[in-house]
C-alpha cells in the first residue's frame, strides 16, 4: 500500500483573535485539523516596569508593582511589601496579617469567578457567563467598601496595612459571602453535570502528573493533575491559624481544572469566615520601619493562578538595585504547549483559557 503523508500547514494564531482571551502568539503546525507542533511567542505587552526601580524610591515602587496586572493586583502589592519587610527583617502586627489574608482571599474569589464566566463564554453558554458575573459584582462592592477601589486597592504599606475595618463592615461582608455561596451552589449543578458542558470539557487537554512535574506546572493547573502544591501551606500571614487543605483532582483534563477552581471559591469563602471569627482585637496596623534597606530576599506566595516568586536586592540607598516578579503564567506556558499537541484546532481557545493566562503579568 502506498504511504500517504497528510498535508501540513503553518497557521499563526493571535495576538488578535476573537476567541483568544489574552494577547499571546502561537505558531501552529496543523495536519488537517489536528495540531502537531506549536511555537509560543510572548512580548506584546512588555512595558519595562522593572526599570522604574532606578527612578522611584522603595516606598513609591509599591504603586508601580501593584499595576503590573489588574486581576492579580492585591497579591502583587502584598508580595512587594512582604519582600521588603523580609529584607528589613521586621514582623507585621497580627491584625495586619489577618486583614491581608482576608483581602487576598476576596481577591482570589473575584479572580476565579471571572475565569468561570470566561470559560462559559468560551464554549458558548452566554447566560451562564452573565449569571456568574452578576454574583461577582457583590464581591467587588465588598472590596470597594473595605479598601476604596474595586480592583487596584493600594492598601498595603511596608510594615503593615493602611486602612482598618470596623465591626459593621465585617458584618456586611459576612452577609454578602453567605449570599455568594448560595448563588454559587445554585449554578454548581450546571457546571458539573450539564450535558453540553461535559461534552466540551471532558477528555481534552490531558497533562499527566509526571509531565506536570517535569515541565514545572504550578497552581490549579498542577493541582488538577493530582499534585498537591499550594503555597498557602508555607504559613505566611494568618495561615497557621486557619484550617485548610489543598484541593486536587485526579482527572488531569479541562473538566478537572474547572472543578478545582470552582471548589476553591467555596474554600475561600470558608477561609474568610474563619478570619472574621478569629480577628485579633488589638488595632495596631503598622510596624514602623526606619532607614534604607540593605540585602536581598526571596518570597513565594500563592496567587489565584499559582506560585509567584518575588526577588529584591537592595544596596543601602533609597533606590532598590533590582526587583523581579516571576508570575505563574510564565511557568505555565511550556506545559500549555505540551497539552495542545494532538488536540483539535477548534478546542484551542478553550485550552489556552484553561491555564488562566494573564499575559500582562507575564511580561511586566
Amino acid at each position: 500500500m502506498a504511504e500517504t503523508t497528510a498535508k501540513r500547514s503553518i497557521v499563526p494564531y493571535g495576538p488578535q483573535h476573537p476567541v483568544l482571551p489574552e494577547p499571546i502568539h502561537l505558531d501552529l503546525v496543523l495536519e488537517d485539523e489536528k495540531i502537531v507542533d506549536v511555537l509560543p511567542n510572548v512580548g506584546f505587552i512588555h512595558r519595562g516596569l522593572e526599570k522604574l526601580v532606578q527612578k522611584k524610591d522603595f516606598n513609591e515602587m509599591m504603586y508601580v508593582i501593584e499595576r503590573v496586572c489588574g486581576i492579580c493586583s492585591f497579591v502583587h502589592g502584598m508580595g512587594y511589601c512582604a519582600t521588603i519587610e523580609k529584607v528589613f527583617d521586621v514582623e507585621i502586627p497580627d491584625r495586619a496579617k489577618f486583614l491581608r489574608t482576608m483581602w487576598s482571599e476576596m481577591s482570589r474569589i473575584h479572580s476565579h469567578m471571572l475565569w468561570l464566566g470566561l470559560l462559559a463564554d468560551a464554549f458558548g453558554f452566554e447566560s451562564l457567563f452573565y449569571q456568574v458575573w452578576r454574583s461577582r459584582e457583590q464581591i467587588l462592592n465588598m472590596v470597594e467598601l473595605h479598601t476604596g477601589s474595586r480592583l487596584i486597592s493600594s492598601v498595603n504599606k511596608v510594615g503593615g496595612v493602611l486602612k482598618d475595618v470596623d465591626d459593621d463592615k465585617l458584618k456586611i461582608l459576612s452577609k454578602t459571602i453567605d449570599q455568594i455561596e448560595e448563588d454559587m451552589l445554585r449554578v454548581q449543578k450546571v457546571f458539573f453535570e450539564d450535558y453540553s458542558v461535559q461534552s466540551r470539557l471532558k477528555g481534552i487537554g490531558i497533562l499527566t502528573p509526571e509531565q506536570a512535574h517535569a515541565l514545572g506546572a504550578v497552581g490549579p493547573f498542577a493541582r488538577a493533575s493530582g499534585i498537591p502544591l499550594d503555597l498557602r501551606m508555607r504559613g505566611d500571614n494568618a495561615m497557621p491559624y486557619i484550617d485548610f487543605e489543598p484541593i486536587t483532582s485526579n482527572d488531569c483534563d479541562c473538566y478537572a481544572r474547572c472543578y478545582v477552581r470552582f471548589m476553591e471559591v467555596l474554600q475561600s469563602i470558608d477561609i474568610i469566615r474563619q478570619c472574621i471569627a478569629k480577628m485579633p482585637a488589638d488595632h495596631t496596623l503598622v510596624t514602623p520601619v526606619k532607614g534604607n534597606p540593605q540585602g536581598e530576599a526571596f518570597v513565594r506566595l500563592e496567587q489565584p493562578r499559582g506560585e509567584v516568586v518575588y526577588y529584591a536586592k537592595a544596596n543601602g540607598t533609597k533606590f532598590l538595585d533590582r526587583f523581579r516578579v516571576r508570575t505563574p503564567t510564565f511557568a505555565n506556558l511550556i506545559p500549555l504547549c505540551e497539552t495542545i499537541k494532538g488536540e483539535n484546532f477548534a478546542d484551542l481557545g478553550l485550552l489556552v483559557l484553561s491555564i488562566d493566562p494573564c499575559i500582562s503579568c507575564t511580561e511586566r
Binding site: Q131, L145, G148, L162, V187, V190, Y195
Partner: protein, 166 residues
C-alpha cells in the same frame, strides 16, 4: 451522570424578577463609604512644606510658596492616597466622585484665602518680635555678665598691686 436542562430553574427565576442593571443617569449612583475618588486640599491649614510634591508617584502636584498656591493635575492623579499619608498637617483628604471628562488635560489650583494669609503673616510677625525681644534680653544679660566679670578681674588686679606697691 450528564443531565439536560439544568439551567432552566435559574432562567425562569431571572425571567420573573427585577433586572440586575440600574438605570444609571436617571438614578444617581451611590458610592460605598471610603471610595477613592479625587484628592482635595484644606488649603488654609497647609504649610507648603512640599512633602506631597516630592513623594507623589506620578509627579502631578506643584506648589508655589510665594503666591501660596497648590496645583494638582487631576488627569495624572491615580488617587493612590500616598500624599494623604505623608502630609504632616493632614490637610489632604479623599472625596468621592471621579474626575469629570473634559476635552483636554487641565490643572486645578487652590489658593490660600486672604484672611488665612493675613493670619499667617500676623503669626509670623509676632513670632519674629518675640524672637527679637528674647535675643535682646539674652544679649543684655551677656553684656551685664561680662561687665561684672571685668569689674571683678579689675578688682582682683588692683588688690595684688596694692600689696606689691606697699
Amino acid at each position: 451522570m450528564a443531565k439536560l436542562a439544568n439551567f432552566t430553574p435559574t432562567i425562569l427565576k431571572n425571567l420573573f424578577s427585577k433586572p440586575a442593571t440600574t438605570t444609571y443617569p436617571f438614578e444617581p449612583f451611590k458610592y460605598p463609604e471610603g471610595t477613592r475618588g479625587h484628592i482635595e486640599n484644606d488649603i488654609d491649614n497647609c504649610i507648603f512644606c512640599g512633602m506631597c510634591t516630592r513623594n507623589c508617584p506620578t509627579r502631578c502636584l506643584t506648589i508655589d510658596k510665594a503666591t501660596h498656591t497648590w496645583t494638582i493635575n487631576r488627569f495624572d492623579c491615580l488617587a493612590c492616597e500616598y500624599c494623604t499619608v505623608v502630609c504632616p498637617k493632614k490637610c489632604l483628604h479623599t472625596v468621592e466622585g471621579y474626575q469629570e471628562p473634559m476635552p483636554e488635560k487641565s490643572t486645578v489650583t487652590y489658593t490660600m484665602s486672604e484672611e488665612a494669609i493675613a493670619a499667617e503673616a500676623e503669626k509670623k510677625r509676632i513670632a519674629a518680635e518675640k524672637a527679637k525681644a528674647a535675643k535682646e534680653a539674652a544679649a543684655k544679660k551677656k553684656a551685664e555678665e561680662e561687665a561684672k566679670a571685668a569689674a571683678e578681674a579689675a578688682a582682683a588686679e588692683a588688690a595684688p598691686e596694692a600689696p606689691a606697691a606697699e
